[in-house]
Symmetry: C2
Subunit: 309 residues, 2 copies
Amino acid sequence: MSFDRLIEGIIRTQNPTVVGLDPKLEYIPEEIRRESFAACGENLQGAGAAIFAFNRGLIDALCDIVPAVKPQCAYYEMYGWPGMKALHDTIEYAQRKGMFVITDGKRGDIGTTMEAYAKAYLGKTQVQGNTFIPFGGDALTVNAYLGSDGIQPLLPWCESEDKGIFVLVKTSNRSSGELQNLNVNGGDTVYFTVAQHCETWGASTVGKYGYSGVGAVVGATYPEQLRELRQDLPTTFFLVPGYGAQGGGPQDVEAAFDSRGLGAVINSSRGILCAWQQKGCAGSEYTVAAREAAIDMRDAIVGRIGKIG
Amino acid sequence: MSFDRLIEGIIRTQNPTVVGLDPKLEYIPEEIRRESFAACGENLQGAGAAIFAFNRGLIDALCDIVPAVKPQCAYYEMYGWPGMKALHDTIEYAQRKGMFVITDGKRGDIGTTMEAYAKAYLGKTQVQGNTFIPFGGDALTVNAYLGSDGIQPLLPWCESEDKGIFVLVKTSNRSSGELQNLNVNGGDTVYFTVAQHCETWGASTVGKYGYSGVGAVVGATYPEQLRELRQDLPTTFFLVPGYGAQGGGPQDVEAAFDSRGLGAVINSSRGILCAWQQKGCAGSEYTVAAREAAIDMRDAIVGRIGKIG
């Protein structure tokens, strides 16, 4: 239950960051693509193989210094079922290397449908009495627009299977305020209403570090809201996107952490995946460049928050 | 652009309904399961094969009298990548049989990520200059909690590729009001605010029947809101879940239609898929039972709204 496993990974590595695995084909070095297409064909299977090979290299290069990865489902779904196979293989490999996997699917539905998503991304599926792990993963991002009916089916998995969810609260994009910042009944915003629900939904799963298994997504691009929410949500762990390419910096995310340096994990995707292109390295150097970029990000954030735990 | 193709299917069949393909293994007759497991193994591949075989039978039995199907992604994702292959195969088969396919994924993300979902579920993916269709589908259900940034990337596909989206507005579940019914700034509800956005987002894709390619999901379980929204959203086509098993009846959905009997498509899933079990038929009769149930549903609704178009 709770995010204790993630938090222990953060303390062990002294690194409160997560690498977003959003692997577009154009981020993948030519050598890897060529090999994968030669083996599987210039098709969706070849694309899936290239994505998995790319991710495997990144995971190998990062697993001792970064506690978690966050594959973004959309970039796998766009390659059809072979892309989804690459998602499965990536999750399995990252977990085998000791990383905590946050599957970023922003799923949201109700009742038995949400139970099906829970099985897909946090649990297991039975077929004729045999048990299979559809995608695995340790946590899932979810959308609460449908209300508690969409969240309740996930809570048993958080409680009994040591899994977590991150509910979209205040997202990092420019237009997030259109709906999320509207003032409702008593004067609170929509996002704050959802945030308060997170505290309630998570109440029965608070772990030994004081955080529950129901986290919140709060963007680095809104540092004031991040500060306000950190103060008002004592048991809700934050997943913070929007660092780097989207504009958030170390000074923006500082307020996401509590006095122990806990309470949040900061995501960077392109800043790590595309480091080799941004630095003008050869494709063969993509893992070295990613590791350097991950260390730079870690040091910039830890320079602000100090020793963790 | 717009929902003209769906509307033409509705007029041709004189049937404003869509069959939800939410194929749990326990809905599938023993004979189909046995054959699929014998061919593929008692595993996720076998489950995927059984699901596709079940769906194919339903599509064959329904394609001349029902204009559309709505596969619910979660029930495919829970069987991992073989489940996603069954989703692909189901969509392809239904389209080949002339049906309009609404993929019910309730996806919602931003920018390039939402573009990836658009490619996955409404469009095409390029691999080394070759074009592939990841999942196909004619329309996708989407969640607008992230604001316009999550919807804009889909609109080019609605405009140029003759696709559509259905935005979650007022969902059919019990707790939908927790967030959706909150009163915001000027006194409107959250769901009405999203509904008004639908009219704006769809403005450039209004087709020959007066409806745009940006539809709204409005539950049959809230007939008053359905009536209010029909009046206030003249160019927004409705996808209406919650009929049958969830409690909505023909009298509840009548208000979803305009005076021509257009403006909405009503979904039933279990009422059709499980008709053979509900009626105590043999498994070999599941397509016959589904067809009868689909005809009953059509007649009950058309009995209220009269000739369509």
